[in-house]
């Protein structure tokens, strides 16, 4: 039973988000999920990039790394690899994760890094005042797409499934109960878990009402272990909330642990001896 309350995870800083911003709902869900899991704040690290959503770590009373635009995933990987005892949650925006950070996402997925990645997807760049993001709709008008967005949006869930993420889900900021539950499942999942959290930007892309109308739940008979079906579901229109894909696979942490077990213990003196000139180091690459 949990001894911590959601409020225990609140920091002394008040969120600076606009009134109505979806990120409030995501943050509330995260507080609640952390309380449900009774996470030790001192052993929890929230890692983010840059953007409105990426300010989140400052509002949580845990350890946090507010990194650079697009870089939360590799930083989170370093945190987890260096200290596997920690619970590591990466958060950020759709621009952060799928524009400038797009190169890291497939690798986090295939490596099955033991990190939960929670993207507050508002289909826009909030912090820089409303430009189109990689998830903005085709033909959407925005300050840098005055003629309508000429690009088709990326589908982060489909991408995650293709790249090898082992847990892929969708939640919504306006549905905090379900989102709380999803976050808990994601954090408890072994390996890389990705949650696309629909989180409207009320200032620059107010989709709140239309999204509320559009969401449905993943059908109860959906088999989340079927990768092709999950892909199919990810491609379909409408927003199905819930777990699209889940796979049991050894995690990066486990694989590196295995390497540590495999490696013959040594020390620096032995290594130095390997270079001994009299004994003659191996040809080409001595020692």
């Amino acid at each position: 039973m949990s001894t911590r309350k959601p409020n225990d995870y609140k920091s002394e800083l008040k969120p600076i988000w606009c009134p109505g911003c979806g990120d409030f709902g995501v943050l509330a869900s995260l507080y609640r999920s952390m309380a449900d899991m009774d996470l030790d704040p001192a052993k929890t690290v929230i890692v983010s990039g840059i953007g409105c959503s990426s300010r989140l770590p400052h509002f949580a009373s845990t350890y946090g790394v507010h990194t650079l635009h697009g870089r939360p995933l590799p930083v989170a990987m370093g945190v987890k690899l260096a200290n596997p005892d920690l619970t590591v949650i990466a958060v950020g925006g759709d621009g952060d994760g799928f524009a400038i950070g797009a190169g890291h996402f497939p690798h986090a997925s295939r490596r099955n890094i033991d990190v939960t990645y929670l993207v507050m997807d508002n289909e826009i760049y909030g912090l820089t005042k409303g430009q189109a993001s990689p998830t903005s709709l085709f033909e959407q008008k925005a300050p840098s797409t005055p003629f309508g967005n000429p690009e088709d949006p990326l589908n982060p869930l489909a991408l995650a499934i293709a790249a090898g993420a082992s847990f892929v889900a969708r939640g919504a900021s306006f549905n905090t109960k379900a989102l709380t539950e999803l976050i808990t499942q994601a954090v408890e999942h072994k390996g890389f878990s990705y949650i696309d959290a629909m989180s409207p930007c009320t200032t620059f892309n107010n989709t709140q009402e239309s999204w509320k109308d559009a969401v449905t739940d993943v059908a109860p008979d959906h088999d989340p272990t079927d990768r092709v079906k999950a892909f199919d579901l990810a491609l379909r229109g409408g927003f199905s909330l819930g777990i699209l894909y889940r796979q049991e696979r050894t995690t990066q942490t486990e694989r590196y642990k295995a390497i540590l077990e495999q490696a013959k213990p040594s020390d620096v003196n032995v290594m130095l001896d390997g270079f001994n000139a009299r004994k003659g180091a191996a040809i080409g690459k001595p020692a």
Partner: protein, 613 residues
């Protein structure tokens, strides 16, 4: 009048010609000769051997094995290699110098030139010293008549085929021929061959047979170029490259986490540590690029790990944003830059010291960092320890600059004693009460205790946004100035305390050499030889270039008639740095931009002639 003549090159581009200080020779130039067949030269205590051929002919492994055998036999060695950026084909060269005494450079005048093919002769004949002799493949190479009296054909291809059915063992025939000429015992070579091919039956035998055949082939020249045999050979000698010294030094410093992306000439470090780090409980990971590498190093260090990456110029260019982040968030990281010829993809397998500016000034805004340049292979070991110590003590990114020459050359050094190293540990929040803890607290030293995950009282958010003492975002003038004072000010003590490599006079009256990194070896040799000529000469090599030890450099040159600043780049980066940071206004910048390291001889030439503006 400004006095950096090499600055930005001449006013107009000119046709390519050899670099300043390295005379160009042309075939047919009269050269003082010697006769390979005419009696034995007196034993020398240093010999310079150059092997040249096509990439794929085994030139590099022949050089490596001879160097290793020599080290095993008790000689000091220095090597220099150059090879094409392509995997197969293209000219490649391996030079090694052996001596019974410590040596500091790979030498300029070649005593024994070994040509595997015609191009090898065409490209390398002009490196021959006045008493230099030649071994060449009897089939592939034709030598001009005027060199014939000091050249000897060796049936490299032919014998290799006879013995092994292919030209594979050609390099062993060459090795054998060389051992005869320099009067070198083949036993250590045989031992190495046996060890190398322990698992491949037959191959070792063929190689050893080729070795003997080669030695037989030039048996009549035996001892033609004898080396003084080594006398006192200490047990603690190691043969090691710059990259390896960095890798094992990092282990000595306590590295726990290495992340990198392959790139020439830095990949050795990644590869070596991927074997070794797990053996001491650490992790090595190859990331998707240099940005991810440094990002994950930042993440690892955030948890308290000693974390590093290694790359070359192009990788550093990509890491700049994260270097600024680590500096601002005050997260220790160590970054090795094994410099290669630039700009851009440039000359991946050639040497250059042209990343100094980028190391000092890369990343937007004004981000703190420490920049270190080791001066020798041995110093690579101690410098990476310094790098970790600075990183951990000052919570700052540290860049360690080597170059292709230093990173890949093999040198005999004395075994460092890990017990004697001073290893600095990070100041942490342990023991501080939660309510008293401020991650970015203004302290006397500018360094604030770092909370490490797991520690209940140290919770904070690391950030690259400007922030107050708590790490909360804040953009007031007071916060910004206060934090820049903290982040940059904390490094000030290093100016006075950093290690410096010096040689010769502490305050020379004739010539003061200032340089950085790998040019120290040849300069050191040159200083000795110029001192023998009666000049008051000294060399001052700051190991830490940023923050720059300005007043110590000023003190060094206080009495000097001439200040010479040799460096392997185009614009004279160190010379400009000295001008920017000190009161020194008149100096001779000798920037050499040809992808090759300096030789002691070239430095001596510089001393002889004032550099024209």
């Amino acid at each position: 009048m400004a006095s950096i003549p090499a600055a930005n090159g001449p006013a107009r581009p000119r046709c390519p010609e050899s670099s300043r200080g390295l005379p160009i020779r042309h075939p047919g130039d009269a050269r003082p000769g010697c006769n390979l067949y005419g009696g034995t030269l007196s034993a020398r205590n240093s010999v310079v051997v150059r092997l040249a051929g096509e990439s794929g002919e085994g030139v590099i492994s022949c050089g490596d094995i001879l160097t290793q055998a020599a080290a095993r036999g008790g000689y000091y060695t220095q090597t220099f290699r150059t090879f094409p950026a392509e995997i197969k084909g293209g000219p490649c060269m391996y030079q090694f110098r052996l001596s019974d005494e410590p040596i500091w450079s790979h030498g300029q005048d070649v005593d024994l030139l070994v040509c595997f093919n015609q191009e090898a002769w065409d490209l390398n004949w002009d490196s021959l010293g006045p008493e230099g002799v030649i071994l060449y493949d009897s089939v592939e190479v034709t030598i001009p008549d005027e060199y014939l009296d000091r050249a000897r054909p060796v049936r490299m291809d032919e014998l290799a085929k006879e013995i092994g059915g292919s030209t594979r063992a050609k390099n062993m025939v060459a090795a054998g021929a060389i051992t005869a000429v320099i009067d070198f015992d083949t036993t250590p070579i045989e031992e190495l061959v046996l060890r190398r091919y322990a698992h491949k039956e037959g191959v070792a035998d063929a190689n050893i047979a080729a070795l003997h055949a080669g030695a037989e082939e030039s048996a009549d020249l035996k001892g033609r170029y004898p080396l003084v045999p080594p006398v006192e050979v200490e047990e603690d000698r190691m043969l090691i490259s710059g990259n390896q010294a960095i890798a094992v030094g990092a282990v000595a410093a306590g590295v726990n986490y290495f992340a990198g992306y392959p790139i020439t000439p830095a990949s050795d470090i990644l590869e070596w540590l991927s074997v070794r780090l797990p053996q001491v409980g650490g992790l090595t990971i190859q990331c998707e690029d240099e940005i991810a590498s440094l990002a994950s190093v930042v993440g690892a260090s955030y948890t308290g790990a000693k974390a590093m990456t290694a790359t070359s110029g192009p990788g550093i260019s990509l890491m700049n944003e994260l270097i600024g982040y680590a500096g601002t968030a005050e997260i220790p990281v160590v970054i090795v830059d094994a410099q290669r010829g630039g700009p851009s993809t440039g000359l991946p397998t050639k040497t250059e010291q042209s990343d100094l500016n980028q190391a000092l000034y890369g990343s937007h805004g004004e981000a703190p960092r420490v920049v270190i340049a080791p001066v020798s292979v041995e110093d690579c070991f101690y410098s990476i320890v310094d790098a970790f110590n600075y990183a951990e003590e000052f919570q700052v990114p540290v860049l360690l600059l080597t170059d292709q020459g230093l990173a890949t050359r093999l040198e005999v050094i004395h075994r460092p004693d890990p017990e004697k190293l001073n290893i600095v540990q990070r100041k942490t929040s342990a023991g501080i009460a939660r309510e008293d803890y401020k991650r970015y607290e203004y302290t006397e030293s500018g360094v604030s205790p770092m909370g490490l995950p797991g520690e209940p009282n140290g919770m904070y958010v690391a950030t690259g946004i400007e922030h107050d003492e708590y790490g909360h975002p804040g953009y007031t003038p007071e916060i910004h100035l206060g934090m820049q004072n903290k982040r940059l000010g904390k490094l000030e003590p290093i100016r006075e305390t950093s290690r410096v490599a010096t040689h010769g006079e502490a305050q020379p009256e004739d010539i003061a050499f200032i340089g950085f990194g790998s040019t120290f070896g040849p300069v050191r040799e040159a200083v000795d030889r110029l001192a023998e000529q009666g000049l008051s000469v000294g060399a001052f090599y700051p190991r830490v270039l940023g923050p720059f030890p300005a007043s110590r450099v000023e003190a060094f040159v206080a009495n000097a008639k001439r200040i010479i600043v040799p460096e392997v780049n185009y614009t004279g980066q160190l010379a400009r740095l000295i001008k920017a940071e000190t009161n020194i206004n008149e100096l001779e910048s000798v920037a050499k931009c040809d992808g090759l390291p300096f030789t002691a001889e070239a430095i001596i030439d510089l001393a002889a002639q004032e550099v024209a503006a």
